[in-house]
């Protein structure tokens, strides 16, 4: 106990790891927190430290979001060179709005991929969700909110049903969701009846999902400011708590750097959406998508539920022996996927102007899964980030938007999207192999 007090009384620099090995005899054998192991490669202080650690990670196959970010920059340069309206305000707002619906669905897929499974039914569930909302609210006169809520709950129940067949009955998830893919799309067509499409009513919630913009510039900048401040505050708070607990913490320089990067991105986006000619302000769809991302990221990384999802995806048997209810986790994850699919379906209905018989069919499913994988979530389970849904979807929508601006036919778009997906999976497989040889997988 006296050692504990002694340690915490030392200057705080000792917590920053590098100096400890030089000071082996400090606490004697009874120091509560041991010195850093000499085998551990510790990041050096300052900018050079970031450089060497970055190179080490790349060599070890930990590519993270790097391929996507590089891809996005390349895409922006190529399309901007071909057509200078690619980076215009309306084009960027378009990308933001079209990214949202599919991106929300991709968040659900990220959770399923973290389990090491696949959900092929999301496109059909999205279409069914939109159909349920349209039929209830337009044909049966339900109130807007109730119909929206009911559609999302239906998605949750459908996903959980897939989960029950997978976890309790033991049918492979691939087959269960393939059956769902066919079955739910059948139900969607049956619900839509003979006319085949129901237009979104003027001023309804679903219409506003993607057509509402916060014209007041203060909203855009305000959201950016809140995001940056919240990010900086969470980093500072964590660092303070870690220091108090005498654990290695982020140096202030890193916090400043990270906050600066987030601030630049947030304010550039807010500026682009607010200021240029023809800008309509911050789209509501983007706000909702970001909210889903932040909540999902928190659930995945900071809650016991998220930890259990990663554990089941990494080693289901170990998770079972540790007392985790593996079946329940699997059912819950498929439920989340179904719920977010139905919610995303409402966005797609909103951009399409209504629910149709074939909404959510075609390449919706492929785009959603591709987005999660392109963003860097592994197909093999246990590794990935919720933010990969945003990054991957941005890549795909940017390509689509760029090709549209160039007047490219949809068959070319399919081929290019296919090639991008293949490239992403190749990167995943190769980096995983490198990680194995580097002992990181």
């Amino acid at each position: 106990m006296s050692d504990l007090a002694k340690n915490s009384a030392q200057p705080q620099e000792t917590a920053t790891a590098v100096k400890d090995p030089a000071d082996p005899a400090a606490g004697g054998s009874a120091a509560p927190i041991p010195a850093v192991d000499p085998r551990l490669l510790v990041r050096e202080q300052g900018l050079k430290g970031y450089g060497t650690e970055f190179v080490r990670k790349i060599r070890g196959g930990e590519l993270g979001s790097l391929p996507v970010v590089v891809g996005l920059i390349v895409i922006a340069i190529i399309f901007q060179a071909k057509n200078d309206s690619f980076l215009s305000a309306s084009s960027l707002a378009n990308i933001a709005v079209f990214t949202s619906g599919l991106g929300i669905m991709a968040v659900g897929i990220v959770f399923v991929l973290l389990l090491g499974e696949i959900d092929l039914s999301v496109g059909s569930v999205a279409g069914l969700g939109a159909a349920i909302w349209a039929v209830l609210s337009v044909n049966h006169g339900w109130s807007d909110w109730t119909a929206v809520l009911f559609a999302v709950v239906c998605g949750l129940v459908i996903g959980a049903l897939h989960g029950v067949f997978f976890a309790k009955v033991g049918v492979p998830a691939f087959v269960v969701t393939l059956a769902g893919f066919l079955g739910w799309s059948g139900l969607q067509i049956w619900l839509m009846g003979s006319e085949g499409s129901i237009n979104t009513p003027e001023g309804s919630i679903v219409e506003n999902l993607t057509s509402h913009y916060f014209a007041d510039k203060a909203v855009g900048y305000g959201v950016a400011l809140v995001a940056v401040l919240a990010y900086a505050a969470s980093l500072l708070w964590e660092t303070r708590r870690r220091r108090a607990a005498d654990l290695p913490s982020r140096p202030i320089s890193e916090i400043v750097l990270r906050t600066a990067v987030v601030a630049v991105i947030s304010f550039v986006v807010a500026y682009e959406l607010n200021e240029p000619e023809g800008a309509r302000g911050l789209p509501l769809a983007l706000v909702l998508f970001l909210a889903v991302l932040v909540i999902a990221d928190f659930v995945a990384r900071r809650t016991t539920f998220g930890r259990k999802v990663f554990a089941v995806g990494g080693n289901a048997e170990a998770a079972r022996r540790a007392g985790i209810n593996v079946d329940l986790i699997r059912i819950a994850v498929f439920g989340i996927s179904g719920m977010l699919a139905a919610f995303g379906g409402l966005f797609i209905a909103s951009t399409a102007g209504g629910a149709t018989k074939n909404l959510g069919s075609g390449n919706t499913l492929m785009l959603v899964i591709a987005a999660a994988v392109i963003g860097g979530t592994s197909l093999f389970g246990g590794r990935g980030k919720v933010w990969s849904a945003l990054l991957g979807m941005l890549v795909l929508q940017s390509i689509q938007q760029g090709l549209n601006l160039l007047g490219m036919a949809s068959e070319i778009q399919y081929m290019i999207t296919g090639a991008v997906l293949l490239a992403a999976v190749v990167i995943d497989s190769v980096s995983r192999r490198t990680q194995k040889t580097a002992g990181r997988a």
Partner: protein, 264 residues
């Protein structure tokens, strides 16, 4: 010197277990005291794993009784054993490769506020635990995948101690390890004893058993075949108990060499 308490932490009295037509355990007695390492040895099929599984709640016993600190208890499920304070380190380590050391140590027992993980609290306790066990791991924040076999084994053992159990069961902890790692694990077993845990060590390796165990309980064909104090018993006597005969390859060879020496 080992201080053995009067009442055993865990005592099996006349335990029997059948699987269909096979009588896996017959009338087995075993006592574990606090601060004592008991090695459980026997040939393949002698019933070691079955006995351990009855203690850890995987297979409930058919007959006999289990006493915990002197009072009779029933262990019907793995959770019962965990609640009593029995922790089992299985042969296949049951770690999640993709999670870091802290996450693995606390898997299923996470420190939390409501549903939110208390990462800092867990990291602090993990460091303290690893330090008290003198376990050297480069960092508690690296994935278990980057650890060596020996390091994984010590992490698995450390994980069993998170709930502060009274009895720790180690199933073949050194089977897949090299010389250095084996020594590390044996050191760890000794440290468990020093901290007052009762340890049941299953091993085929007599050197390991003689190195760390206080007593050796021999099983043969599902029955007790003697409990020996390691210090007062020769290697051959234990081998004899395991194989069930004083006449075996080892004793014959020994006798031969002795005769040769005498002849000289």
């Amino acid at each position: 010197m080992i201080h053995v308490s009067a009442t055993p932490v865990l005592a099996l009295r006349g335990v029997s277990k059948r699987f269909g037509a096979v009588q896996a355990l017959t009338d087995v007695d075993l006592e574990i005291h606090a601060g004592e390492v008991v090695a459980l040895v026997g040939d393949n099929g002698a019933g070691k794993s079955t006995l351990v599984k009855t203690i850890s709640g995987v297979h409930p016993i058919d007959e006999g009784g289990i006493e915990w600190e002197g009072r009779p208890v029933r262990i019907g499920r793995p959770q019962d054993a965990q609640h009593l304070g029995v922790a089992t380190v299985y042969q296949d380590l049951a770690l999640c490769d993709n999670l870091d050391v802290v996450a693995n140590l606390f898997l299923g027992n996470e420190l939390r506020q409501v549903q939110v993980l208390d990462e800092i609290g867990m990291e602090k306790r993990a460091k303290e635990l690893l330090h008290t066990l003198s376990i050297r791991i480069p960092s508690v924040r690296i994935p278990v995948a980057s650890l060596s076999g020996g390091q994984r084994q010590v992490v698995a053992i450390a994980r069993a101690l998170i709930g502060d159990p009274k009895v720790v069961i180690l199933d073949e902890p050194t089977a897949a390890l090299g010389v250095e790692q084996t020594a590390q694990v044996l050191d760890l077993v000794e440290r468990l004893r020093e901290r007052g845990h009762g340890v049941i060590l299953i091993s085929h390796n007599m050197e390991d058993v003689r190195a760390v165990a206080d007593r050796v309980a021999v099983l043969r064909l599902g029955r007790n075949n003697g409990v020996f104090s390691v210090r007062d018993t020769s290697h051959e006597e234990i081998i004899a108990a395991i194989t069930g005969a004083t006449d075996n390859a080892v004793t014959r060879r020994k006798a031969r060499t002795l005769t040769k020496e005498d002849a000289r």
